[in-house]
Structures are given as C-alpha cells and as structure tokens.
C-alpha cells in the first residue's frame, strides 16, 4: 500500500486537476537535476578526457595538438608524481586510522548514560562544522614555533611542526584528525545505539568478559556503519587540498591535489593536468570499489 501511495498521484490533488500525470510530475522534478548534472559534471568530465590526450595550454593561443597517451606516459614516469602519490597514501592511512581510533573511542565513551550528554556531543561536533581554510589558518598559528600555544603547552621549545620536512605531513594529518574524528564519532554513536541491549544482557548472563563482548558483539554489529565512515573519510582525505595548502609548502607534504593545482593553474599545463586528474579519479574509484565490496560482505554476515 505504502509504495502505491508514493508513486501514483492523488486524484483529488491540484496537480491531477491540472491534467498532470504522475510521470510528468516526476520528470518535472528530475529533468532539471539531470540537465544540471550533465552541463556541470558529465560534460566537463568528458571534455577534459579529450584534453588529456592533447598538449593544450589554456594560457596561450596555440591550438591543441593530439599527443595520444604521451601525457599519461610522462606522468607515470615522473618520479615527483609518484612521490606525491606515496605521500598522499601515507597521509590517507595516518589520518583515516587516527580518525577511526579517536572517533570510535570517543563514541564508546559517550555511549552510556552521563549527564549533559547531548551538550557534550554537540560541542565535540564543532570542529567539523568549521571551514577547512579557517581550520588551516588557526592551526598554522597554533603550530607556530615562536608563539604557538602547542609548543608552549607541551614544553617543546621552538619545535618546528610545519617547517620540519619529516614532521610536516604528520602535523597536517593531526589537524585533519582533530577536524574529522567527530564525524566518525557521530556515525559510530548511531551504530552503537542500534546494537540490541538484549545481546549485552545475554553476554552478561554467560559471564563474557568486556573484551569478548566488544570483539564479538559490539564491533561486528557496528562494522558496516564504520565502513561507511571509512569510505567517506578515505575519499575526502585523498582529495585534501585546502588544509595542506594553507598549512605547509614542504615538498614532503605535497599531496597529489596540490601538485594537480600547481600544474593546472600555476603552470597552465591544461592537457597534462587533465590526464593527472583522470589518474586520480581512477584511483579513487578503484579504492572506493574495494571498500564497497568489503562493505557488502560485512553486511551479509
């Protein structure tokens, strides 16, 4: 019954009185969105695929020449691009793992009856509501070796978080963890509160220890929703640009999106940057697909 209510139009409605069928109503709502997607997403996507096989430069009047796979060949042979990918992979692993640990940990702590739980949760969510650029600017001040509050609080003297080639990437990841752990926490909380209470009661009756309860009941039941958090965060971390761009210029923290930006809008190598964008797109798609496969497997259990 419920489904028919949604798909067919109420005969007494104003739309039906004007002679609109449910199909035309559906089209009315969907076609503008589809058109919008085609004009602003699909068309540029295909257009840039075309450019990726040329030596086109947007900054000159010279016409674009077809160069076949030359751009892809050059990029995949460029040690700098590979190092950018390696840096990005390292960054994704550190920041997503960190967010998962912190986010899930805080969610476990909050998943009980404590006073002011609602207020506490809301306050913890604040970091992810800020703009990335603002977070970057604030953390740049916090990390400052001369007057930053982090060195002052930890008694690190003039430790150079962002100027130290070895530390810079971790510093950016730390900021990302601070900002996005609340997101993982929020999803985990939803997952945790959905675990049926009677399972815990049964475990208690069977005298199961806290570790056993956690690994055999809590984790498997929250896993699917955690996987969703991981997918979202991996995709986002892979694309990180503003945060890292504002915080540091260390080559050891140059993520692939920063390389892409420089290639496209500072050097104006339009054709080559299109090719790089496609390589990144394919990678993100592949990684996401692996996750989705795994997610489906987890859900089946």
């Amino acid at each position: 019954m419920a489904t028919t209510m949604i798909t067919t139009l109420d005969r007494s409605s104003r739309a039906a009185a004007r002679g609109l069928s449910d199909i035309s109503i559906r089209n009315l709502f969907i076609i503008p969105t589809v058109l919008f997607l085609i004009v602003f997403n699909i068309f540029p996507l295909i257009y840039s695929l075309g450019y990726s096989f040329t030596d086109f430069r947007a900054s000159t009047n010279a016409s674009a020449n077809f160069v076949g796979l030359q751009n892809y060949r050059d990029l995949l042979n460029d040690p700098y691009v590979w190092s950018n990918f390696a840096i990005t992979a390292k960054y994704v692993i550190i920041s997503v793992a960190g967010q998962l640990l912190v986010g899930f940990g805080v969610a476990m702590l909050l998943n009980r009856d404590i006073p002011l739980k609602g207020l506490l949760t809301t306050l913890l969510l604040l970091p992810m509501m800020l703009s990335m650029a603002v977070v970057g600017l604030f953390w740049k001040l916090l990390y400052d070796p001369s007057f930053g509050i982090i060195n002052y609080a930890l008694g690190l003297g003039t430790f150079e978080w962002l100027s130290d080639p070895k530390m810079a990437l971790y510093a950016v990841a730390l900021t990302d963890i601070w900002m996005w752990s609340p997101f993982v926490m929020l999803l985990s909380l939803a997952g945790l509160s959905a675990v049926p209470k009677h399972l815990y009661e049964a475990a208690a009756i069977d005298r199961a220890g806290p570790f056993y309860t956690f690994f055999r009941i809590t984790l498997p039941l929250v896993a699917p929703i955690l996987m969703i958090a991981v997918i979202f965060r991996t995709m986002e971390a892979f694309k990180t640009f503003d945060l890292a761009y504002i915080l540091t210029t260390q080559p050891t923290a140059e993520l692939i999106s920063i390389r892409l930006y420089k290639m496209a809008f500072q050097e104006w190598q339009t054709g080559r940057s299109c090719a790089l964008a496609y390589i990144v797109l394919i990678m993100v798609l592949a990684i996401t697909n692996i996750y989705v496969k795994y997610l489906n497997k987890v859900k089946e259990r």
Binding site: S59, N61, S146, E160, S163, T248, P251, F265, W268
Partner: protein, 438 residues
C-alpha cells in the same frame, strides 16, 4: 499570466535602461594589481586622473599568492573585467605570445618611452622577446631586492668590540657576501631569541628563485643564456654551485620555522626583533620606516645587495609594468591614461605618493634620492638588476627550481652540484619541449 509577462518585461526594460544610462554617464577604467601598498598609491594617483579628466580609475586587487592565477584565469577566458593589468615581469612572454596584451610598440616609439624610463626597466618590464624592440608594457613600479638591518644592533659598542675580536674586521654594513654570512652568524643567538638573518625560502611562487638569484648574480653566475636558452655550464657552473652553497649557509642563521618565508615574514623579522638583517623588495620598505607599522623604525637602516667574492654586484629584479588587456572594450581610454601616466609631472606625483617610479629623470633627481633612507640604495640597485626567464612557460621553470632547490636548501638532500645539474636537465627538457634554442 499576461500581467506576469508584462511585469517581467517591464522589469527587464528598466534594468537595461538603468544599466545603459550609468554606462553613458561615467567613463571608468579598471586596473588589476596585487594587494599591497603600491596599489593603494596607484589608486590615489587614479583619483587625481579622475579629477582632471572625469574618467574614474578603479584599482582592483587580490592577495599576492592568487594574483597570477586570477589574472591568467581572466585572460584565458578572454574576459574584459580588467582594462589594464600591472603584471609581473615574468608574464611578458605569456601575455604577449598568448595574445592577452596589446602591442604597445607604436606607443613606445611615438612617445619615446625608451628615453623616459630607466634602461633596465624598459628591458625587463616592457620588451619581449629580449632585444626584439617590441614592447608590451609601460614600466610602472620599479623594484628589486635589497636589505634592511638593525642599526642599533650594528652600532652597539659592545657588539662592535666582540665582532672585531672574533672576525678581525669592523662590524658595519656588509661589504660582500662573506661579511653578510659572518654578521648573520655573529647575531645568531637562539638562547636570546635573536637571529642573524631573514631570507626568502617560500617555494610556492618566485620567492625562492628571487632569494637565490641575489646570491647567484653577485657570485657572477647566470641562470642561462637568454638568447640561445643554453643552461648547461651556466646554472650548474662552479660559480652557481658556490652561490647556492652560500645561500644555503645563510639559512642556518634564520629564525626558527623559516621554511616558508617571503616578504611578510621578512619584514616581521625586523618589526618583531627577530633578525639583524632581512632581505626584501624595496616596495616593502615604506612600512619599515613608518613608526606605526615598525616599532624599530628609527633603528632600521638599508643597504643594497652586497657583491660576491669576485666583486660582481647584482640584485634580483621585482617590479611590474602596466599593460593593456587585449580583451578590454576601452583600449582607447586606456591609451589616454598611459599617455598621462608617462608625463614627467605624473611620475613626480607617483614618486611622491610612494610609488617607485621608473622615470630616469625623477630617479636621478636629488629630491627623490633624499626623500627616504632607502631611495639612494634603490637608485643604485636599479642599474644593476637581472631577472628570471620571461618565456611563457616561466611557471614550469620556477616550479622545477623550487622542486630541486628547496629540498637541498631546507631538507639538506644531496649536494649543490647535484641539485643544479638536475635543475639544468629539467630546464633543458622544458626548453626542448617548447622548441626553444639549442
């Protein structure tokens, strides 16, 4: 329904009518530049022009890091948002061959601009390709890299005595790069939160290149041969290697966290009592003699980039020329503005407002040279400047320099020779890709 259509049409009609009437009443020109003090001075100069002619001048600005990106995005879209642009000297190649700039060669010859402006400014801000006698801009803001220093630290008798005892000569404004290094080392005292020197290290645009060029040119090195695009034996010559080592040596004596420093940080080094000496463009010196922006204004002195070991003395060129954007609808009005701008009295006003005029007559006048503590150093520097490549692919060349030099300078990877050999190979490949020289 008919009512709706009528009202919509009336609305559109009204908007159009208002739009055109405003357009007809006010003539206006928009000039695009980066967000800094000279742009404010140019706006004041523009206000004078409006008083005289009724044509409104608007100087639109954007922060330096976005300047190049925003300007070229507009050019590439063939947009007419800006009638004129005060573009960096490196843009000449891209601006002229890309068809973004109007050819000003006739204007140049008609008004003899080559005689009005100082020769170096014409060569680097206006002409492309080098030696072609084709001109694309009018030199507007002359600029080069110079140094500021703390006079009170330098003149302290105790410091003078200690310096003489340690290095065997008097502490004074550095006579050469060796003295620059010694003084930097002498004042480097992390325990007192005092440091020796502030230099450019930012690798996002041209900061690193400009800083390194100061050492390179004074050591007698070159980036390459600008006419044949040969770089082997130039950028990786022994002189260039020594220059890079000298520049890296200075980095040891910088304040902590000095790995992304450009003009803002380098002026802060003086205002925040961090460093004894600081490299910066002359264009940023006005705020250093202003008590409101520099508490040490009275104790700040200035000197030109010192010579290298063989006595060569050069400095890296900054500064910009003003070009007419070829997509502008108001090119004739823009020409009129430029005709007014190159007049002697306008150039005098420009200098008085704080702009760094390129007019040879004004530069040579004693009133200009005595107007500020740094004008004399500026006048001297403007006759011994050299610049980066101005080819359309300059941004790729800059990126390659950043990619090679930064890990060596800041991260200590490899040696200077390896770094510059690799850079020469990168540049060769880039020039080959665009079919230049060789």
């Amino acid at each position: 329904m008919r009512k709706l259509v009528t009202s919509v049409l009336a609305g559109i009609g009204l908007t159009l009518a208002c739009g055109t009437s405003v357009y007809a009443q006010e003539k206006s020109l928009t000039i695009f530049w980066a967000e800094w003090d000279p742009a404010n001075y140019l706006q004041e100069l523009g206000n004078e022009y409006e008083k005289e002619t009724g044509v409104k001048i608007t100087v639109e600005t954007t922060p330096w890091p976005d300047f190049q990106t925003k300007a070229f995005t507009e050019f590439n879209a063939h947009g007419d948002a800006y009638d004129m642009v005060v573009g960096d000297s490196q843009w000449l190649g891209a601006g002229s061959t890309g068809g973004h700039y109007v050819d000003l060669t006739d204007f140049f010859n008609k008004h003899k601009v080559g005689d009005v402006m100082a020769p170096a400014t014409v060569k680097y801000y206006a002409e492309y390709p080098g030696g072609s006698s084709k001109y694309w801009a009018i030199p507007l803001e002359g600029d080069a890299v110079g140094w500021s220093y703390r006079k009170d630290w330098f003149e302290d008798p105790k410091e003078k005595e200690a310096f003489k005892a340690k290095y065997g000569y008097d502490l004074d404004v550095p006579k050469d790069f060796k003295a620059l290094r010694d003084i930097a080392e002498f004042f480097y005292r992390p325990d007192q939160k005092k440091y020796g020197i502030a230099i450019y290290t930012d690798n996002s645009y041209d900061a690193m290149a400009m800083g390194f060029e100061n050492a390179l040119f004074s050591y007698g090195g070159e980036l390459g041969d600008y006419s044949t695009y040969k770089v082997d034996g130039f950028i990786n010559s022994d002189k260039a290697v020594a220059a890079l080592d000298a520049y890296k040596e200075l980095y040891k004596f910088t304040p902590p966290g000095w790995a992304k420093a450009f003009f803002v940080e380098d002026n802060q080094a003086i205002t925040e009592n961090l460093a004894a000496m600081s490299m910066n463009y002359f264009a940023f010196f006005p705020s250093l003699i202003n008590e409101a922006s520099n508490p040490n204004a009275k104790n700040t002195g200035f000197f030109a980039n010192p010579p290298g070991p063989n006595g060569d003395q050069f400095a890296a060129l900054g500064g910009q020329g003003i070009s007419i954007v070829s997509y502008s609808q108001k090119q004739d009005e823009s020409i009129k503005f430029l005709e007014w701008f190159i007049k002697d009295e306008t150039q005098k006003k420009w200098a008085a407002l704080g702009g760094y005029t390129c007019s040879a007559a004004v530069l040579k006048s004693p009133e200009f040279q005595n107007a500020t503590p740094y004008n004399k150093a500026f006048y001297e520097t403007m006759f011994k400047v050299k610049d980066f490549w101005a080819v359309p692919e300059y941004a790729e060349l800059l990126q390659q320099l950043n990619q090679r030099v930064y890990p060596y300078m800041i991260g200590g990877q490899g040696t200077a020779k390896e770094t510059l050999d690799a850079l020469a190979a990168d540049w060769n490949a880039t020039f080959k890709k665009y079919g230049r020289g060789q």
